[in-house]
């Protein structure tokens, strides 16, 4: 079992708990690889906040583009963030937006890793089988 604080100390709140749930099933080597890939791909919620604030100066919806929601990004950009209402809502909600994206990234990273590793070999049930070999 790997500790999330050792591998990804910059996480906080809900994301910390979620990633700890993932790392629980990994050994140290897998956790190091996961942390490297995940850190490179996740989006910091402060970046979402800053891009959202730019919406008040005429370029709304940049945070939606960054989070892969192209349709909403175009809609925000062409309507001044739904007349600022959408921008203000996202200003309140920026942590959830980043968290949602990061959970998606974590699952992508996991499925990428399962191509290289057989993750199940890290669970206690199968450790006995490895010892037999």
């Amino acid at each position: 079992m790997a500790n999330v604080l050792k591998h990804l100390p910059e996480l906080e709140g809900m994301e910390l708990g979620y990633i700890q749930g993932i790392l629980k099933n990994m050994d140290e080597e897998q956790a190091t690889l996961f942390a490297q890939v995940y850190r490179a791909r996740r989006k910091d919620n402060q970046m979402v906040l800053v891009l959202c604030l730019i919406g008040f100066f005429g370029f709304a919806g940049l945070h939606r583009f960054i989070l892969g929601q192209i349709g909403l990004g175009i809609l925000y950009l062409l309507t001044l963030g739904l007349c600022f209402i959408g921008t203000i809502v996202d200003l309140v909600n920026y942590k959830s937006l980043a968290y949602e994206y990061n959970v998606k990234v974590a699952h992508e990273t996991l499925s990428l890793m399962s191509v290289n590793y057989e993750l199940k070999s890290a669970t206690p049930k199968n450790e006995g089988n490895e010892a037999d070999k």
């Binding site: 708990g17 309507t79 600022f84 959970v103």
Partner: protein
């Protein structure tokens, strides 16, 4: 079960749009913060009324009010579906593991 804030916002927005009265467009009630500040026009003006006109089937009037009405419906609908599907996925990851052991 607690609904995500953003999901609640989009659903209330669509409900609000369905309740717009587009009959008398001379001086309509607006919750737009720019309108409250006294700015008379912005690129999003008429989007809500355009979507309402689309709901009642007046496509040409909807396009004239704001060309993005239909696009907005598609994108917001897609986002609502995505948010509903996300409710289960963004719960604590460890729960699934606990349940299986």
């Amino acid at each position: 079960m607690k609904l995500p804030f953003e999901l609640l916002f989009w659903i209330l927005a669509l409900l609000g749009i369905a309740g717009i009265d587009v009959g008398s467009d001379a001086s309509h009630f607006s919750i737009c913060p720019l309108d409250q500040l006294g700015i008379s026009w912005c690129p999003g003006c008429g989007l809500g009324r355009s979507m309402k006109l689309l709901l009642v089937g007046e496509f040409r009037a909807s396009w004239a009010m704001h060309p993005l009405g239909g696009f907005a419906f598609l994108v917001i609908g897609h986002r609502i579906v995505e948010l509903i599907l996300n409710i289960k996925r963004t719960k604590h990851y460890g729960k699934r593991i606990k349940a299986s052991s």
